[in-house]
Point group: C2
Chain length 294, copies 2
């Protein structure tokens, strides 16, 4: 039997993503011991009951020392507090990683608090569901999905390799990217779609009584496709938009210009403009299906 | 054995919806004979091969006379031509229905061409997929889904009852609605979502080479939820937007105001505005799941 990749993994914030990692780590035998740091007593209790944590505490001194991998899985607005709190308790040589949907802000907020000899390998698994909390996790969440790593220049090579090995063992494909490029790509593929989904579902939510009931009743005509991602965790998404402000505002601007062009084509009855645009978009869907990400 | 509901059903345009109806009618024994009127030789050939048509022609004189139910399943921009072409060949007492996503324009375009004694019962099944053509249909498409009927005042009661019986036998629930109310409800639940999906996928499509590949690669982060409906039939959707212009422009305006409000909250770092909005939208998703339309 080969030794597991890690001795002790400490999950900071045991929500959907971290509890899914914990399950996969358990299933694949990638660590000897799993511990949880979480401010919520309910989350800690659930993690212990589900067996995704061997120990759980709200006190970093109780669970952080001795961990050779610490994964921060809180909303990105909380990572600075997390880093400040856990920093003094990190063991020499420990690897710190995260799963945040924004990378520049996370690196800015975490790096100052990490002691010398601790290796930071920021990560972002491109996987998730609209559900939240440790009970929503599952070991196969990352299988066949991409995980983006955004290590800074000069980061310890073996630390990057160990984080890569972890994700590969959980079934993910790895992409290494510059943090700022990550934030631009995700602004388009993830942040804008979520904002649009929240907006359109919010527009429907503002309708009065009977009409709102009808929107729910007849949602199979297109609307329901948006409601899944608009049910994602509000705090997590609030933090993402505030932390990736510049890239998000830039893509909203592009989107609004494109919507205005279609709106104008509808107003003036320019059928050929609509038809051309609607034909182009089919190719993107085909490419996603072909890439097995549908 | 009870007699089938109809003797001969004529499907005008044998695409996804009409071919699904044909399969369900066949499966449930709701008609004795199925015929197809379609200008596409390929579609006629496929319909005959699939057994969803006993006869197929591009000549109304060959398939319309003798049909006691005619269902128009073409893009809504083509229904006026269809009505003008089939009008002279309709048998006395025949029922004409349709499956168009817009009702005021269809009623305006069809009614003038129907001879005395022919009953028009406009319909719209709230079901579909992103695929097109007769080969994409399946008999269960309408099971557990709503079908909206928008008969005009004074329409023959027994004709409405027969169309209702048809949809009920195919597994649908029926809602009767005023045509103008239908067009408003669908502008929100269906037309706006499709326009937004086409827009966001189009915005991504305009990106240059490498970035576009990354959008496809990392589409599981939200983007792919939009691409399914943005792969819907371009001609069908061009016609819907042009035919329901006023209602669509009105909901685009509401949507744009709501998006602008969120954009402003992001720019000014108003986290509480975002959090409040994102919390409200979760309730709508739950209601859709509870209504079994998810």
């Amino acid at each position: 039997m080969t030794a597991p990749l890690f001795d002790t993994v400490c999950f900071v914030g045991i929500g959907l993503i971290n509890s899914s990692i914990a399950r996969a780590v358990r299933q694949e035998g990638l660590a000897r011991r799993l511990v949880t740091l979480d401010t919520s007593a309910k989350a800690r209790q659930t993690a212990l009951e589900l067996g995704v944590a061997d120990a759980a505490s709200d006190d970093p001194a109780a669970v952080v020392p001795g961990a050779d991998l610490v994964i921060i899985g809180t909303p990105v607005g909380a990572v600075e507090t997390v880093a400040r709190t856990i920093g003094p308790h990190l063991s020499a040589g420990a690897i710190v990683s995260d799963v945040g949907s924004v990378k520049i802000a996370v690196i800015r907020d975490v790096t100052p608090y990490l002691p010398e000899g601790v290796h930071f390998v920021p990560g972002h698994p491109i996987a998730g569901t609209e559900h939240s909390g440790p009970e929503s996790g599952f070991a196969d969440l990352f299988r066949g999905r991409w995980c983006i790593l955004t290590p800074l220049p000069g980061t310890d090579g073996p630390a990057i390799e160990k984080v890569t090995a972890l994700w590969t063992a959980m079934g993910s494909m790895i992409e290494v990217m510059d943090p700022s490029h990550h934030d631009q790509v995700l602004a388009i593929t993830s942040h804008l779609p979520h904002l649009i989904a929240y907006t359109i579902v919010g527009t429907a939510n503002d309708l009065q009584g009977h009409l709102q009931q009808e929107v729910i009743k007849f949602s199979a005509s297109g609307f329901r496709d948006f409601t899944r991602i608009a049910a994602s965790d509000p705090i997590m998404w609030r933090d993402i938009f505030l932390s990736n402000k510049d890239a998000v505002l830039e893509v909203i601007q592009r989107f609004t210009e494109d919507l205005t062009a279609l709106q104008r084509a509808i107003r003036w009855g320019e059928g050929e403009v609509l038809e051309k645009r609607f034909t182009e978009t089919r190719a993107i869907r085909r490419a996603i299906v072909d890439a097995r990400q549908a």
